[in-house]
C-alpha cells in the first residue's frame, strides 16, 4: 500500500479538514453507502461476502486502551499495531479463519449466532489521494455502535471510532487498513466474536 502514516499520526491529523467541496460530499456519500453495505453484510451474516470488502493486504487492528497519566495519551494510551498484544492485530488470513470458524456451526461462542446491529456515523474523509476529484485512496474516520444480543439475556454494546484507509479497486472501495478504538479499558464483554 502507498500509505506510510502511522496510527498516531493519523489520529493527530483528524482535525486537518479537507475543503468541503461538491466533490467531497459526493465522495462522502459513496463512502457512507459503502459502510452501510458493509454493516448489512455483517448483520445479515454474509461473512464471506464481507471478506470480499477487504484488500488482500488488509491490516485490521483493535488496540487495548490503557489508563495513563495526562500527557501520555498519544504515546502510551493505546497498544500499538505490529507490536505486543492487542485485541486484534490481524491480516486477511486470520480474519478468513474467523469467518471459517463461525461457518463450522460448532463455534459455540457464535452458535447459535448472535443478533448484531452495526451503526456507523460521523463519517469524515480526512485525506484523499491523489486528490478529492480522482481519489484512489482515502483516509476516513467514523464512529460505530455495535449492539450484540446473544442467546437470551446476554447483551453487549460496543462503542468507539474507526480510522480506515479505503482503496478503490475494479470492484469498488475496499478496506485496506482499519483501526478500531473501542472505548473501554478492561473489556466489559466475555468475548469479541463480532467484526467491527
Amino acid at each position: 500500500m502507498t500509505t506510510t502514516v502511522g496510527d498516531q499520526d493519523r489520529q493527530s491529523a483528524t482535525n486537518a479538514a479537507i475543503e468541503r467541496s461538491a466533490a467531497y460530499y459526493r465522495l462522502k456519500a459513496d463512502v457512507e453507502d459503502f459502510y452501510y453495505h458493509e454493516a448489512d453484510l455483517l448483520d445479515d451474516r454474509r461473512f464471506r461476502d464481507w471478506l470480499e470488502l477487504l484488500t488482500e493486504d488488509v491490516s485490521y487492528f483493535m488496540p487495548i486502551r490503557r489508563n495513563v497519566k495526562f500527557g501520555q495519551q498519544v504515546a502510551r494510551e493505546n497498544t500499538k499495531r505490529g507490536e505486543g498484544i492487542s485485541w486484534f492485530d490481524e491480516d486477511k488470513w486470520t480474519l478468513t479463519k474467523r469467518v471459517e470458524q463461525i461457518l463450522t456451526g460448532v463455534h459455540y461462542a457464535e452458535e447459535p449466532l448472535s443478533r448484531i446491529t452495526h451503526m456507523v456515523s460521523n463519517v469524515q474523509i480526512k485525506e484523499a489521494r491523489p486528490d478529492i476529484g480522482t481519489a484512489r485512496e482515502l483516509d476516513v474516520t467514523s464512529r460505530f455502535l455495535v449492539y450484540q444480543n446473544r442467546v437470551e439475556y446476554e447483551t453487549y454494546i460496543f462503542v468507539g471510532r474507526r480510522n480506515d484507509t479505503l482503496r478503490l479497486t475494479d470492484t469498488g472501495w475496499k478496506i485496506a487498513r482499519r483501526e478500531i478504538l473501542l472505548e473501554q479499558n478492561i473489556l466489559l464483554a466475555k468475548n469479541l466474536t463480532t467484526f467491527f
Binding site: R66, V68, E83, T104, L187
Partner: protein, 449 residues
Amino acid sequence: MPLRNDFDQLVDVKGGFISREIFVDADIYRQELDKVFTRAWLLVGHESLVPNPGDFYTSRMGEESVILCRDKKGEIHVFLNSCRHRGMKVCRYEQGNTSLFTCPYHSWTYTTDGKLQGVPLHRTLYDGVLDREANSLVSVAKLCNYKGSIWATWDKDAPDFLTYLGDAKIHLDQALDCRDGREGGSEVIGVHKWVFPANWKFAAENFLGDTYHNPSHRSVDLIGIGPSAAAGKKGRRDDELEKAEHVWISFPAGHGVHSAIQPEANEYTESFLDNPILEKYFRHCFEERKRRLGEGARLLPFVGTIFPNTSYHGRQPRGLCAWHPHSPTSTEGWRFFLVDKDAPKEAKEYLRRYYMRYSGPAGMTEQDDMENWLYATAASTGTVARRYPFNYQQSMGAYVTDHPLGGDVSKQVTEQIARGFYRRWTTYMQGGDWHELLGSPAGNRQAAE
C-alpha cells in the same frame, strides 16, 4: 453461613459429587475471599512490567486492587491500592514511573516503598498524633519473585513460595524458563483483561487439566489456527506431543497439571512449516534444551493451575492467567503473555500473532471456553439446579502415588485433579492450618479414595 461441616457435605470427593452452591452462593463467595484469597499465594505480575526504579503496575489480588512497584533502590513491593486516610485509590494508572503516589482526595503522598511521606498541614492538624510509619500503604505479608513472575500472600504464616509450589514447581518452570532450557528469562509482551459472567473456579478448573473438554474446541481444530496452519495443517496447535505419554497430576497443595513426557528417542517435531526461520530457531531451542536438561527435557508442560486462581499455558500459546473473583457469578480474567526476552524478532512477532488468535476474549479457541463457563454458571443458579451436585466421578481411583513426578499421577484423562483441588479448597474454607493446607500425602490419599 455454611458451617465447617457443611463443606464436607458440599464437597464430596469420595463419592465424586460437588454441590453447585460453591459456584453460585453469595455467602460462600464472601467466605472464599476471606479464607482462600487472603491466605494462598496469588500471582500479581511479572518483573518485566516494572523494569526500572520507580516503575509501577497496578494489579489485583482477589477482588482488591494492588500496586506492584519497584522502589528507588530497585526492590519490588506489592501494596494495597487504597489510601490509609479515607481509602481513595492512590493509583488509577495502569502502569508508569513515579517517585511518589499522590492520593487525589486529600493529597497524602506515599513513596515507592510505601511509606507515608507528605501529609498536608501536618504540623497544625496531626502533630504528635499521626504515626507516619504506622500509616504506610498496606503491604502484602510475603512476596516472591519466582523466575520473573511475582507472587504474594497476605498471610504472614504462609510457607515460602517454593514450599507452597511443592512438586508442581518443575511444571510451572516449563512456562517460565527459556525455550532452550535456560532458567527464567521470560518477559511479558502484553496483558489481556476482561470480565466474564462465570464463577472463577470454572476457569481455574479448566486449566487444572480438564482435557476432557477438548470437543468444545472442535471449530478451531477443524479450521486449523496452529503454528503450521497457514501451511495447511489442521488443529489449534502443532502437535509436538503426539508421541508423548500424557500425565495428569494432582498435587497435595491443590495444584494440578496436565503435562507430557516425550518418548526416550526425544526428537524434534516439525512445526512452522511455512516459516524456515522459525523452524530453524525452534529446532535449535529444542536441541539446546535437550542438551542442557538431558532426561529432564522429556517433560513438557501443557496446562496447569497453581491453587487457587493462577493458570498457565506452557508452550502453545504461552502465558500466565490470573482469574480474579468479581462476584459469585463474575470473574475478571488477566492473561500475561510470555516470550523469551532474547528470542529473535521473527519469533516474537510470530508468537504474539498466534497468542492473539488463540487466547482470551478475541481468541478463537478460548471464546468457546468462555461460552461454556458462562452458561454452566448461569444454569446452576436455580433453586432446583442447586439441589443437584456436579458429577466429578471421572477416572475414580485411576492414579498412582509412587510416580517420580510426585502427587497423584494419572495416565488417563481424570477428574482426580479437580477432586484434589476442591478437597484443598475445603481445607481453606474450614480454616485449616498450613500443615493441612499443604496436604500431608498420607492424609490426602485417605480423603480422596
